[in-house]
């Protein structure tokens, strides 16, 4: 009785596909390669006819404040072309300007004259069941949930993130799935956020004996 050919073998023997020669995939086994090919050529359904018209007919014209349009215009990336020869004097002017700003600019006293702020590694950990995403929000990232997203560990209930923070006192909280505010149970210090939750308080000090 003839052995039934393994579907993986059949697929892997198909016409060469774009997935074959990528550097990280050279050592992949035939099965994975076959699956990639199969996904690539998987058939798709056509969207129902008239969907575009149906969508457009349900939309109202947008009325956007002019300041928002200007803001968006300003945010847009642009392409700047310049010649290297012109770059040298421009760079010199920039360096000179920066030097003047550092020497005479505001905030010089705040830096204590060092002009250099040491960042110290801090690891945040949260145990939380059934979370889709968790961020650390705090005074060090202007409470922006997008800026410091935590990573899920193998057991899926533990979220971690290592950050490098300047010395001092920082207020923070964990934001689960964009809406649930959770204080850090491992921190003994806290501060009311005024909105009905607690923020945790973290003290980071420099790794220098002279400062203690």
């Amino acid at each position: 009785m003839e052995r039934k050919k393994d579907p993986f073998e059949q697929l892997a023997q198909g016409p060469s596909a774009k997935f074959e020669n990528t550097p990280c995939e050279n050592n992949e086994n035939q099965e994975i390669l076959a699956l990639k090919r199969l996904i690539h050529s998987m058939p798709e359904k056509e969207a129902p006819a008239g969907l575009t018209e149906s969508i457009l007919s349900s939309l109202e014209p947008k009325i956007i404040p002019r300041w928002l349009l200007i803001y968006r215009w300003a945010l847009r990336p642009r392409t700047v072309t310049f010649q290297p020869l012109k770059l040298v004097p421009a760079a010199m002017v920039l360096v000179l300007g920066l030097a003047i700003a550092i020497q005479f600019g505001p905030g010089r006293e705040d830096r204590g004259g060092t002009g250099h702020e040491e960042l110290i590694p801090v690891t945040f950990t949260l145990s939380y069941q059934r979370a889709e995403r968790v961020s650390v929000v705090g005074s060090f990232n202007q409470w922006n949930p997008a800026s410091h997203k935590m990573h899920q560990l193998g057991n899926r209930n533990t979220w971690v993130l290592e950050l490098r923070l300047p010395a001092g006192r920082h207020e923070y909280a964990f934001l689960v799935d964009g809406k649930v505010v959770v204080a850090d149970q491992s921190s003994p210090f806290y501060q009311s956020d005024g909105f009905g939750n607690r923020n945790s308080v973290l003290f980071v000090n420099r790794d220098e004996p002279a400062n203690i």
Partner: protein
């Protein structure tokens, strides 16, 4: 000639350009739709609200799709803060925090108003002391004093502490109020707290390294060191103008503790 192409965003130039553009557009085209935002931004700018703060606020307005009247309300609030010569950053931070936590704008506005009252209260208490009459308190020190109210100290407790403290140094006073709040959170004996802090203020020895007092006390308590022992070591160090490191040594902290310091949350060394 070789040419190089760079892509960049104009974000950094946003503030100046945005404000200038809004002003010019309102003059040239007389747009009624955004005149209120334009006018409030212009007024805030003229009142001295920093461009960076206005920038941050307008960016938030875009990210969170705030209505024009909401933007105007917040800009006007910042203008009030600026006019009263209070620090803008804590209020700006509270707006960012509230929006990040999806708090309704009305609630954010109420919390901002409460915070403004807290600042006014602390300033009014300071005005009753001999020390503060002669000097202007820095924003940083004011923030720390107001922060103690959010950390569990009542207005009465704070006022009494400030009025009873005998110090010329407002930074030390701010450090003491913050420490008072934090020590209260870890249930350190309140009368011992006052003894320690008043000693430091009287002897002018509550230097910046004592910012970490509550951290060290929390660790010491976890090591079963009694409040009396901790207070005794702290009082002695402050009375004799000894260093914070000496205080830690007295509590039995190892050289390793001294080298690395009491940094909460440090990778692999959390709350040793």
């Amino acid at each position: 000639m070789n040419q190089q192409i760079f892509r960049y965003s104009f974000t950094l130039f946003l503030a100046a350009f945005l404000v200038a553009s809004m002003v010019s557009f309102s003059y040239v085209q007389g747009q009624p739709a955004d005149s209120s935002v334009t006018a409030s931004v212009r007024a805030a700018r003229e009142a001295g609200v920093p461009e960076t703060s206005l920038n941050r606020l307008l960016m938030l307005a875009v990210d969170h799709r705030l209505e024009d009247d909401g933007v105007v309300r917040l800009v006007n609030f910042l203008q009030t803060v600026q006019t009263e010569n209070l620090p803008i950053d804590p209020f700006m931070g509270k707006i960012e925090e509230g929006l990040a936590k999806q708090v309704p704008l009305n609630t954010i506005a109420a919390v901002l108003a409460q915070k403004l009252d807290d600042y006014r209260f602390v300033k009014s208490v300071l005005a009753r002391t001999k020390t503060a009459k002669d000097q202007e308190i820095s924003h940083q020190d004011l923030n720390r004093m107001v922060g103690s109210l959010d950390a569990g100290v009542s207005m009465e407790e704070l006022a009494r502490f400030i009025l009873e403290a005998s110090t010329e140094d407002l930074s030390m006073l701010a450090r003491a109020t913050e420490s008072m709040a934090l020590l209260k959170q870890i249930r350190f004996d309140e009368s011992l707290t006052e003894e320690i802090l008043f000693t430091g203020l009287r002897r002018n020895s509550l230097t910046p390294s004592w910012d970490y007092l509550a951290r060290v006390v929390a660790t010491a308590k976890r090591r079963q060191i009694s409040d009396d022992e901790i207070a005794s070591a702290a009082r002695e160090a402050l009375e004799m103008n000894r260093s914070f490191a000496d205080f830690m040594t007295d509590l039995g902290f190892t050289p390793r503790d001294l080298r690395h310091g009491p940094a909460v949350g440090r990778s692999g060394r959390r709350d040793q």
